[in-house]
Amino acid sequence: MSTDTPDPGTPSPETAMVRVVLPAHLRRLAQVDGEVRLSVTGRPTQRSVLDALEARYPMLRGTIRDHATQRRRAFVRFFACERDLSHEPPDAPLPASVADGTEPYLVVGAMAGG
C-alpha cells in the first residue's frame, strides 16, 4: 500500500510519464486497451493530466469534466494510491508515485446502479 503524499519541495521533473486507467466505457470510446501513458510537462496535477488526456483523445472532452467549467462530472471519481482525489484542488500536485509512473491515476465511474 502506498502512502505517498504530495511533496511541494521536490523539484519538478521536466516531463513525467503518468499512467491513467479509464473506465471501460471511456476506453471503448477512446479505442484504447488497458492503461494510457501520458507525457506531462512539469509536476503532474489532475488538471495537467486530464488536459493531456483530452489533447490526445479529443472524444473524451466533456465526458470526465464539464466543457465550460472544467469541473469533474458528478458521477466521476478520481483515485490514486488508494486515496480519493476527487475533491482535491485540480492544480494540487499528484502523489510522487503517480508522477513517477509507479502508481496509476484512476478515472472511475461512481457506483450508482446500472
Binding site: L29, R61, G62
Partner: protein, 371 residues
C-alpha cells in the same frame, strides 16, 4: 426491391434492424454504444447513409455519434451544447426558479435538404443546430428567449424538447414540442418563436387553457399536408389544421386518451395511429392488452388493432419517440416497447409481428426506406 432500415435507441445501446420490402426476415446489428442510453437516432432524408445518434449516460454525459455508411461505422462528433448568453431560469417541479442546465439530447432532426445540417432538441429544453455534420452546435436562443421560458416546467421525464418538425413546404417553418411547456413555432428558421397552444386544456395547471404549461408528448405531421398536425398530449389526442394556431380534441372513442406516441400513415394523411396507455400513474395498456388504435378519419373514430399483439398480461409502455412509419407502397408501421419488443406491421396495422423481443427498454424507433 426496396429495403427498410429500422433505427432503435434503447436504455443500453442502439440496434439496427434491416429487411427487404417484405419485412418478414430481419437482420439485427448491435448493440452499438453498448451500455449507454441512446435516446434517438435518425438518418438524413437527403443522404440515408448519414445517421446521427444521441448517446448519453449520467456518468459520462452526452456524446453525438455520426455514421456515414448507414450505421456500420460510427465516430463521435461534437458534444458541447452551451446555452447562448445568460442561461437564466425555468421553473422546477415545485414552481421555484431553477437554473437552465444541459442534461442530454432527446431528439435529432436532420435537415430536409442538407445532410450536414441537423437540429437537436435537448433537456433542459432548447433547440440547437449544427451546420457541419455535428462537429459544432449553436443554440437558436429565440425559443427560450421568446418570453415564456421562465414559466416552463419539467414533465416527469425532465424539461425536454422532444419533437422537431421541419415543414417541407415552408423552409423556414419549424415546430417543436416541449414537456411540459407546450408547442412552439418559428417561421423564420428559428430566429423568433411563438407559443401555439390555443385549444389545449390541461387539468394539471392552474389556468387550464394557459398559453404555456401543457405536457405535449408528441406531434406528427404528414409531409404532404404540413398544416395538419396530430398531437398526443399527456391526456387528449389533438388535431390542428392551421399549423398549430388552433387545436381541437379528436380523442373520440379511444378507451383512454393518455399516451405518448402518435404517427400518420405514409400515404393516407387522415390515417393516424396511437397507443393508448391507461393513465399518467399507470404507464401500461388498459386491461393488459397491447392495442394500437387507428383512425382513418383523422381522429374521432378509432379502431383497435390487435392481430399479433399480446392481448393478456402485457404491461409495457410505448415511449414518445418509439413509433415510425416507412414509405413502402404497403405502409409499414413500427413501434418499440419498454419491454424490449419492436413490432412491425407491413400492412398498415392489420397484422403485427415482433422483429425482436428481448432488447433493453426501447426509447426510440425510426425507419428509413431505402432503394
Amino acid at each position: 426491391m426496396s429495403r427498410v432500415r429500422v433505427l432503435v435507441g434503447t436504455r443500453k445501446g442502439a440496434f439496427i434492424l434491416t429487411s427487404d420490402g417484405k419485412r418478414e426476415q430481419w437482420e439485427v446489428s448491435g448493440p452499438h454504444f453498448a451500455g449507454w442510453e441512446v435516446y434517438h437516432l435518425k438518418g438524413s432524408p437527403v443522404d440515408p447513409d448519414r445517421i446521427y445518434a444521441s448517446q448519453s449516460t449520467a456518468w459520462f454525459g452526452q456524446l453525438i455519434q455520426r455514421s456515414d455508411d448507414g450505421g456500420a461505422n460510427w465516430r463521435p462528433v461534437g458534444n458541447e451544447f452551451a446555452y447562448e448568453g445568460e442561461a437564466g431560469t425555468h421553473q422546477f417541479y415545485d414552481g421555484t426558479p431553477q437554473p437552465w442546465k444541459f442534461n442530454r439530447v432527446w431528439h435529432l432532426e436532420p435537415s430536409l435538404t442538407d445532410p450536414d445540417t441537423v437540429y437537436a432538441g435537448v433537456e433542459d429544453a432548447a433547440l440547437f443546430r449544427s451546420d457541419d455534420g455535428g462537429q459544432t452546435w449553436h443554440e437558436l436562443p429565440g425559443l427560450r428567449g421568446h418570453g415564456s421560458g421562465p414559466q416552463w416546467q419539467p414533465g416527469a421525464g425532465g424539461l425536454c424538447l422532444h419533437t422537431i418538425l421541419l415543414d417541407p413546404r415552408q423552409s423556414g417553418r419549424i415546430t417543436v414540442a416541449i414537456s411540459a411547456a407546450g408547442t412552439f413555432r418559428s417561421d423564420d428558421s428559428g430566429k423568433t418563436w411563438q407559443a401555439i397552444n390555443r385549444g389545449l386544456r390541461s387539468e394539471g395547471i392552474p389556468d387550464e387553457d394557459a398559453e404555456v404549461g401543457h405536457c405535449v408528448h408528441h406531434i406528427a405531421m404528414h409531409p404532404d399536408r404540413p398544416d395538419t398536425l396530430f398531437m398526443q398530449k399527456h391526456w387528449d389526442v389533438m388535431r390542428s389544421d392551421d399549423g398549430g394556431d388552433t387545436w381541437r380534441e379528436v380523442s373520440g372513442d379511444l378507451p383512454t386518451d393518455f399516451g405518448f406516441v402518435i404517427d400518420v400513415h405514409a400515404h393516407e394523411p387522415e390515417t393516424v395511429y396511437v397507443v393508448p396507455i391507461k393513465s399518467d400513474s399507470e404507464h401500461f395498456p388498459p386491461d393488459g392488452r397491447l392495442r394500437v388504435y387507428r383512425s382513418r378519419t383523422g381522429g374521432g373514430e378509432w379502431e383497435p388493432l390487435t392481430n399479433g399483439l399480446p392481448q393478456r398480461d402485457c404491461y409495457v409502455n410505448v415511449l414518445r419517440d418509439a413509433m415510425a412509419v416507412d414509405r413502402l407502397e404497403d405502409c409499414g408501421v413500427y413501434f418499440g416497447t419498454t419491454g424490449g419488443q419492436v413490432y412491425v406491421s407491413a400492412d398498415s396495422g392489420g397484422t403485427w409481428a415482433p422483429i425482436v423481443r428481448d432488447l433493453p427498454p426501447v426509447l426510440s424507433v425510426e425507419v428509413q426506406t431505402l432503394p
